[in-house]
Subunit: 324 residues, 2 copies
């Protein structure tokens, strides 16, 4: 009998959890990410919290799984993130093993989120699941038969960068027309600001909810839509339509049992999920059966943390997924 | 030691092949499909040719694999085709077992094509491969780690029905905006006819190659493009751009080692493949690595036949793929 540690390193928060061998969360420590702190600051936080969990654990801790909020070379077990200072090509698993004396495995946050939901959340009991995390960016993870689909360059499931249409808006990846530029949080806020700029009269409920155009966020757009603002609802519908088309692409290629939607934007809940489902139903009106269930993440902000520990668990059901 | 039979039932031709247990083609019989003959006519042809191959085989024949040119419910081993009279919900594998006294497995032609190329063609030695067959329609098959990705309803890999854009053109599946309506053979011919209707002066080389607008086929469009006709090249480029976008969708989701293109339209070869590769390179200019190799089918019209026998082979490398 032994416990394991799961770590979720995100852009705004980081979390460290102690799990038993059935994957039950025993204790969790949480902190805000100091972006200016860079890599070394974050590594110190991870180290301190893991040490603390190891000390408080009633059983020996035998491994550590890490979800990293950015691209990871899974085969090489190295962080590839080029946006966060100091992380590029960093051998994170090796660092943990050397410093904390724990076997370690690292994957990106979207794959971890998919694993978390597959084994412990909305995907329990399904054969195949696609997970989308929609927040500042859009990440995706695909699990088939208990195994993450990684692809040639660990770049399978990059759903935020599905080429949706010709567009002049530059994506964070350097390309144009990516899904992320149509329905991430910043994309929804940008569309609202553009609308207000073109038609100040359309500001309506949005105006009452924020003092200036610059304050418009996706959250405020959703709130205005819930309160009946027509312009806000239009923006929500537009984003929902792009997301529905992307989900249909995924369904045509993977035909999964479930698609699970998580991340900050999906905290809007039904106001966003409802039009996504409606558009998906309209678009998939075809002789090709589409019975994929689309639902919200069950674990919320914990999807990644649960997935991180799943990377190093030895629960029989997880055996497939933890073979490198 | 025993041989197996592979059968490829297509809309224009059907083929029956005898294979040894290493998957080597020993003998092949070929015939034209009599569409008006319907199911019973086809079953009789299959029966007669299989009987003939069994008689001429030096070793016992122990199984039969069938590629069917239309939707197949793989779990139920039934043909689902709704366009071909008499085939709907037909238990083809069971029919073969009862009549020819052979264990049998059936799959759709795109999955069989993918299997054929994966084990015996352009995909040999790769881990993951996506196969597209582009002709009257567009089919797709995905093989990862030697196993066809089938999905919940046996509808994974339906690449011809990727939702590309809003469009008024109705697809054979009952939906609109599918890839098939942008770059199948009939779609390319339709675009050429539309162009000629709008601008008879653009007819150029096309006029010399066919007597009337109705005679324009994709083959003629490609030929005119090869001969330097600018209008024809535009139509080829337009179709190539849609195909490139679809391939990038597949790459973002699956990140496969190889994409193999087959089917009648791809017999055009470089005149179509070159712009597809160029557009794909342009669109995938991103920090997300895209190193998927795009190439033509190696087996040509034999992809499906080789894949059909692979369904029932017991070559160690195939073990995964033949587990129901």
């Amino acid at each position: 009998m032994a416990n394991v540690i799961g770590v979720d390193i995100g852009g705004t928060q980081f979390r460290t959890g102690l799990f038993n061998q059935q994957g039950r969360l025993l204790q969790v420590l949480q902190g805000d990410t100091l972006r200016s702190g860079g890599r070394d600051w974050m590594l110190k936080q991870v180290y301190d919290r893991c040490e603390s969990l190891i000390k408080s654990s009633d059983l020996p801790v035998r491994a550590c799984g890490i979800s990293f909020g950015g691209p990871v070379d899974f085969v090489g077990q190295r962080v590839r993130s080029i946006h966060s200072p100091g992380w590029e090509d960093f051998p994170l698993a090796q660092w943990v093993t050397e410093n904390l004396k724990l076997p370690c495995r690292v994957d990106n946050d979207a794959n971890c989120g998919a694993m978390g939901e597959y084994f412990f959340g909305s995907g329990r009991g399904t054969q195949s699941l696609v997970f989308l995390t929609i927040s500042t960016g859009i990440g995706g993870g695909i699990v088939c038969d208990g195994k993450v689909l990684r692809g040639k360059n660990s770049f399978a499931g990059e759903l935020g960068h599905l080429p949706m249409a010709d567009s002049h808006i530059l994506c964070s990846c350097g390309s144009r027309g990516c899904l992320e530029t149509f329905c991430s949080g910043p994309a929804i806020a940008r569309r609202a600001r553009e609308l207000v700029e073109r038609r100040p009269d359309a500001m309506g409920r949005l105006a009452a909810l924020c003092s200036s155009r610059e304050d418009i966020s996706a959250k405020i757009v959703f709130q205005a839509a819930v309160e009946g603002d027509i312009a806000a609802q239009q923006i929500v519908d537009e984003a929902a339509r792009w997301l529905a088309r992307a989900l249909l692409m995924v369904i045509r290629i993977i035909d999964p049992d479930k698609i699970v939607l998580g991340g900050g934007v999906m905290q809007a809940g039904e106001v966003f999920l409802r039009p996504v489902r409606t558009f998906l139903q309209e678009m998939s009106n075809s002789t090709i059966i589409c019975s994929t269930e689309v639902r919200l993440s069950e674990l919320g902000q914990d999807s990644q943390l649960f997935g991180a520990q799943a990377l190093v668990q030895e629960i029989p059901a997880l055996v497939h997924s933890i073979t490198l």
